[in-house]
Every structure is written in C-alpha cells, then in structure tokens.
C-alpha cells in the first residue's frame, strides 16, 4: 500500500512539475501577472509530493518490505537502521529520487528567497527548474521506478546493501554531493531565464552569486567527504584515484570555481557577461553528464549500455535537450552588446580571465581522459584504460600555476594597477617563500622537489594574503578597527584561498613523504618504520551486527612510549558473504598511521599494510576552509538586500 502511495505521489509531482514548467513560462512571455505568480505555490506543492514519495521509500526500507524490488536488492533485515535509511540512496533508483527531492528543495529555496526579484525572472527561473524536474520524473517513472513490486514471487530476505556503503561517510556523502550537483541547476536556470528575458547585468550577477556559492560549498564538501571515505574505507590509503566517478564530480566543481570568479567580474565591472552565462550552462551540463556517466552503466562497459540502452538513451536525449537547447538559446539570444569596460595587462580582470582559462583547460583534460576509453571502445580501438600519470601530468603543473597567480589576482585592482607599487608588494613574500620552500625538506631525510614546490606555492599564497590583510587594516585608526571594516566577502575569499594553500601542503607532503610497507607478520612480530615500532600483538575473532571479523591488535610505539593501539578488521558479511577490509587509523595534525589487514597467509601469519602518511589531514582541512570561505562570501550584505 505504502509503495503504491509513494508511486502515486511521484506521478502527481510529475504533473505539478509539468504545470510549473508551462504556466509561469507562458505567463512571463505574455506578461500575465497571475500566471507568473502561479510558480511559487506550484513549487511548494511539487516539493510536498516528492517529499511524501521519499518518506514512503524510507518507510519501506525501515519496515523491510521486500516485495518492493529496490528494497529487496539493497537492504536486509540484519542491516542496522541508520544504514537502512542510507540504503534508500545506495543505488540507482533511490539516488534519483534523492536527486529530484533535492532539486525540489532548491526550487523551494529560490521561490522563498526571491521576494525582491522581478517576478518575470523568478517565474522563468522556476519554470526552468520545473523542466529539469520533469525530465527526471519521467526518467524515474519509465526506466527506474524505486516503487516497483516484484509480485507475486517476492523474497523473504533482502540481498543487502553493498558492505562498502555500510559506513557513516556514505550516509552523508551522497546527499551533500547532490546538494552541490543539483544546486548548480539554480545558476543554470538563472542563466536561461536571463537569456529569455534578454537582459544580464550586475544586479543579475548579484542574485545568482549567493546560490552559486552555496552550491559550490556543498560540492566542495561532497567531493572531499568522498575522498576521505575512499581513504579510510577502501583500505588502500589513497585519497584520489582519477576514477571516472570522481572525475564526474570534479569537473563541475572546476567549472563552478571558474563561474564564481567570473561572476565577480560581471557583478563589479559588468564585463564577461556572455562568458559567465556560458560557464553556468557548462557547469550544470557537466553535472548532468556526471549523472549520465555514473548512472547509465556506460562506465562499466559500453556493451552493458548497448544491451540495456533504455536508461542510457533517455539520459542522453535529456542531456542533448538541456545542453543543446541552452547552447542554442545562448547562440541566438546571447548578449550582443559589446562590453564597454576595458582593462590593462595588470588588472584583476585579466588575472581572473587567466584563472578561468586554466580551470577550463584542466576540465578539458579530465573530460578527455575520462571519455577516451569510451570513445576508443565504441570505435573499436581496443580496451583501454587511462592511468593516473596522464591526469597528474596536467593537473599538477596547471594547479600550481593557478596557485602562483591566485594571490596576485586577489590584490590587483580592477581595470589597472600601477606597476611600481605592485612589484614592491611581492618582493618580500617571494624571497620568504623561496626560503621556506627550500629549507622545509631539510627536516626530512630526503630532499624532495615536490615538497619544495608545494611548500613554496602555499607560503606564497599565505604570505601575500596575510600581507594584504595587514595592508587593508593598517590604513584605518587602529588595526582592530581596520580588521572590522574589512568586508565579509573579502574574508570569504581569504579563507578559501588559504584553504587552497593548506590543501596544496597536504597533497604535496603526503605525496613526497608517505611511507608504505606491505609485510608478512606473525603475532608477536615487530616491524620498525621511520622511528615507529609496529607490534602485531594478536589476531582475534570479532562479531558485528551483520558480519564476523578477524580483528588484529597492533601496538604502535615510538621511543618506548605508546602512540596508539590500532585494531584493523577483516570482515565477512553474513548476507552476501563478501569480504571487506576495515582499516584502522591514528590521525593527528602532522601524520596519520594507517593499518589495513591484507589476507591470512599460512599458519597465523597475515599480510599487513602499514602506512605513515604525513600531513594527509591537511587535504580535507583545506577543503573545509574552502567551504567555509564560500559560506562567508555568501553572507555578504550586498546579497541580503536583494532577497
């Protein structure tokens, strides 16, 4: 009964979304006030029905209704309740339901916080969001309905959620990532609405910016949460694999980063209008492409896609309609008026343009590397995989170049900066960061160029940023007074940029100084690794709620004092019989000690993987700073006035 109720709510939500697409859109074209004002109540109604539908699915999972195929495939009576809830979005159908639920949430937020915007714009924005919802509703109802029953022969026990997904990280990772993915639809909808209205100016940029910042914040958090999860859950100690699924989330992030910067130029100088629109369209297109790549099965095999093409073909058509449609609209209605603002070679505009170009090049490189195996397979060039060296070859130097330009861009003035002042500004930080970068690796046994470069770039970013804060606050009565006068959006930028520096430190030092040993150990055996002693004390059976495990106890000491007692597990899940490695990590600011059990060997011996990873936490701390910067920037007073 509940399943039918959920299914029915989904159908009603589809029809409301259809109305939300058509009525306000027509209203905006014929300037009918009543039709345009329908948009807000329709959004509210659609949100309520999709929420109802979602709650129904959660209910089915909690009550183990295995007559519903999706529940039977992804849950199990032994599964702890919190994982039953996260299993709702653990696979294809449910994650789409989460996608549209979040889209409805964003639409609702736009309809609530847009009271001061022109009604014509709001109507069009909500209509575009409605159109995207319609696409996803149709997709779900025709190809991937989570409420399908497997009557009359249904299972009495479910197949269980993939053990890899039975983890706290996977409760939060998908919703947060989707908040980011889907949030990009708002900037997209605003762009399409602006193209339809035929006007784009700094006011428009000011309306779009906070939405873009918040979506970007969620995207940042979602990606870093995913990377952190992969780090501790996959048992390989890696935090980024250049996996197509990861790339699918990184590409929209990169374009969105470009978009945020380009929006600033449009807002403050009225320039880059067409470029900004194009970036907004690209960012959302890439997030749709990501959904297509991850969800159509095209990644596992082109042939899997060919044998069951309904899903893939549907998303492909939707993708073509959305991307092609918006690009056509851009071609015909794009801003024709030449921007009147001019800027010189030493201006913020030019550096932001450089930032945008580099980010787009990085995105293009990743896109090519991700799609190349698919293209090769379709064209019969053989089975190919593109390895991490390809991605690193481009990503690392381009990111470092970005880091080099970043602090310069942040202190340059709009239009033109006097050349003399600026050189004086950089001398001190340059010399200091060369010294810091050059001497830092002396603390370690080996002198690694990667460490030199990453410490140099991050010192360069941090020093110039600090100097600029000092400069901005010193002109006022007192420094404290000066600090208070600095705008909150400036603090946002500073926080995010310092976050990037922290990230670079983390990535650089982990890459340069990580130590990894795969060893064969017997209980009682001790291994020394970089001043640490790892003693394999015991291996004992351990019982979890839905698995049994072998749990090792490893005592870590340094100069005879205990550092940590680590208990990695090798789990075997009852329902699927699947084996899983559960790593045990001792985290601290300057290093992680990471132990994972490999496989049992002859006798009591085990294969054990031991890592010492310096500064690895800095990667995610940096990401937190970036996200915090986005929040600060979005709190700026100039955005509040218009809402």
């Amino acid at each position: 009964m509940v399943a039918e109720f959920g299914h029915f709510s989904l159908i009603i939500a589809l029809f409301i979304a259809l109305m939300q697409t058509v009525i306000p859109q027509i209203g905006a074209s014929i300037k009918n006030q009543l039709w345009m004002s329908c948009a807000r109540p329709l959004v509210l109604a659609q949100s309520l029905f999709i929420l109802l539908s979602f709650i129904c699915l959660v209910f089915l999972f909690i009550n183990d209704d295995f007559s519903v195929r999706y529940v039977a495939e992804n849950s199990n009576t032994l599964l702890p309740d919190r994982y039953k809830i996260s299993a709702v979005w653990g696979a294809h159908e449910g994650s789409l339901l989460l996608w549209v639920l979040i889209l409805a949430f964003w639409s609702l937020a736009v309809s609530m916080f847009s009271s001061k915007l022109p009604i014509q714009l709001v109507a069009r924005v909500l209509a575009v969001l409605g159109f995207i919802s319609v696409g996803f509703y149709l997709f779900m109802l025709f190809t991937s309905n989570p409420f399908d029953r497997s009557l009359p022969y249904f299972l009495t026990e479910g197949a269980d959620l993939n053990p890899l997904l039975q983890d706290v990280g996977l409760i939060f990772h998908p919703p947060i990532l989707y908040m980011g993915y889907v949030g990009l639809s708002v900037a997209f909808a605003f762009s399409v609405a602006a193209l339809l209205n035929g006007s784009i100016d700094s006011a428009w940029a000011r309306w779009v910016k906070p939405w873009t910042l918040i979506a970007w914040m969620f995207l940042t958090l979602g990606i870093s949460l995913g990377s952190w999860w992969a780090y501790y859950e996959l048992g390989w100690g890696g935090w980024w694999f250049w996996d197509p699924v990861e790339n699918a989330s990184l590409m929209p992030w990169l374009v969105c980063t470009a978009l945020i910067h380009s929006l600033s130029v449009t807002e403050k100088r009225g320039a880059f209008a067409s470029w900004t629109l194009l970036l907004a369209i690209m960012a959302f297109s890439l997030s749709l492409l990501g959904t297509f790549l991850v969800r159509s099965g095209v990644l596992t095999s082109v042939h899997a896609f060919a044998t069951d093409p309904t899903r893939g073909i549907f998303i492909l058509i939707f993708l073509i309609v959305v991307i092609g449609g918006s690009l056509l609209l851009f071609a015909f209605r794009g801003p024709t008026k030449k921007s009147s603002s001019k800027f010189s070679s030493l201006s913020k505009e030019l550096f932001i343009l450089a930032n945008n170009l580099i980010l787009i090049i990085i995105t293009a490189v990743i896109l090519l590397g991700t799609l190349y195996p698919l293209i090769a397979d379709v064209l019969g060039w053989g089975k190919i995989s593109v390895g991490p060296p390809y991605f690193n070859l481009f990503f690392v130097p381009l990111t470092l170049l970005l880091g080099l330009l970043m602090p310069v861009a942040s202190i340059l003035r709009w239009k033109k900066t006097p050349r003399l002042n600026i050189l004086k500004y950089f001398n001190g930080p340059l010399i200091l960061s060369v010294i810091i970068g050059g001497s830092f690796p002396l603390m370690y046994e080996s002198y690694e160029p990667i460490a030199v470069v990453s410490i140099f770039i991050s010192s360069w970013i941090i020093l110039i940023t600090l100097r600029d804060i000092g400069h901005k606050s010193s002109t006022k009565v007192s420094i404290l007074d000066g600090l208070k006068r600095i705008k909150i959006s400036y603090w946002g930028m500073v926080t995010a940029h310092i976050g990037v520096a922290i990230c670079i430190i983390g990535v650089g030092l982990t890459t340069a100084y990580s130590i990894q040993r795969d060893v064969r150990m017997l209980p009682g055996e001790t291994i020394s690794l970089a001043n640490y002693q790892f003693e394999f004390v015991t291996i004992e059976p351990y019982e979890g709620p839905n698995y049994i495990a072998d749990q090792a106890t490893v005592l870590v000491t340094k100069k005879n004092s205990t550092i940590a007692l680590l208990k990695p597990q090798k789990r075997r899940y009852f329902s699927s019989g699947q084996t899983m490695t559960e790593a045990s990590i001792d985290s601290s600011i300057f290093r992680d000690l990471y132990i994972a059990l490999g496989e049992p060997l002859q006798g009591d011996a085990w294969a054990i993987r031991i890592y010492i990873k310096p500064f690895v936490m800095w990667i995610w701390i940096g990401a937190l700073f970036i996200a915090m910067g986005a929040v600060l920037a979005s709190l700026d007073g100039r955005f509040k006035k218009i809402q």
């Binding site: 095999s301 293009a364 593109v386 390895g387 390809y390 064969r520 699927s576």
Partner: protein, 142 residues
C-alpha cells in the same frame, strides 16, 4: 598597427598557440599513458608486446595460486578458457580475489612469457564481473 588591432592579434595568436600546445601535449600524454588490454590467448600467441605496461584479465585457474612462505610473493594462472598465462605478483591481493573468479592485472610480460603484475584488480562485489574479463572469455569462445 592600430593598438586595438595589435591587441586582438596578440590575443588570437596567444589562444591559437596555447590550444595547439595543449592539444599536442594531451594527445602525447594519452598515447604514453594508456594501458591496452590483452587476452591470455593473445599473450600466448605473441600478439601482446613484451616489456610494455599492459593489462590482462581472465579467470584465475583453480589450484594455481601458490604463495611464498617468507614474503608476500605469489603466483597464479589466468585463463580465458583457451590459453593460460602465469602471473607473478609481490603484494597484497585484493579482498575479492579468489581462484575460479575473474581478475584483471596491470604489469609487463617478461621474456619467459610470465606476466609480472604491478597491481591486481578483482571484482568489487558478488554480482560484478570486470568487463575486461567478460570480453576475454567472449573472445576466446569465438
């Protein structure tokens, strides 16, 4: 030349050079860093290149896995139903690795036609079969 025209010309030249350099570098990097997949039959028949990083895959032959008593070194055989290839690996085998199941290995073939693996991938859940393994089995069955 007119300042504006000169500015535009530099911009155009800049864009053209950077794009062509980028495209050139990208295709070069792609050529250097793609790993082609070969089936066990093509390794045995000598179609697969020796001492070049490639990937091979198939089913792990039952009772073919042997481990060293002192270290993590192991050897096993991989088959596509027609030919078998010896694989040597020094390291921890993945969770889902077992005899009679599919596996994909990255590494090089040495002069004795033994595949020296640098990494091993097994399927990541019960229902999943690495697509390359399916492909290898299909090719051999033809």
């Amino acid at each position: 030349m007119h300042t504006l025209r000169r500015y535009r010309l530099t911009m155009v030249i800049f864009i053209v050079t950077t794009t062509s350099v980028a495209v050139g570098l990208m295709s070069y990097a792609l050529r250097e860093n793609i790993n082609l997949f070969y089936t066990p039959s093509s390794v045995i028949s000598g179609d697969a290149p020796v001492n070049v990083t490639i990937r091979i895959g198939g089913m792990v032959v039952k009772d073919s896995l042997t481990r060293s008593k002192q270290s993590l070194q192991s050897t096993f055989r991989v088959t596509d139903g027609k030919s078998e290839v010896d694989v040597y690996y020094d390291g921890i085998l993945p969770d889902m690795f077992s005899e009679g199941e599919g596996a994909v290995a990255t590494g090089e073939i040495n002069g004795d036609l033994v595949f020296i693996a640098s990494s091993i991938l097994a399927k990541h859940d019960e229902n999943y079969m690495p697509p390359e393994v399916t492909y290898a089995l299909d090719e051999a069955a033809k």
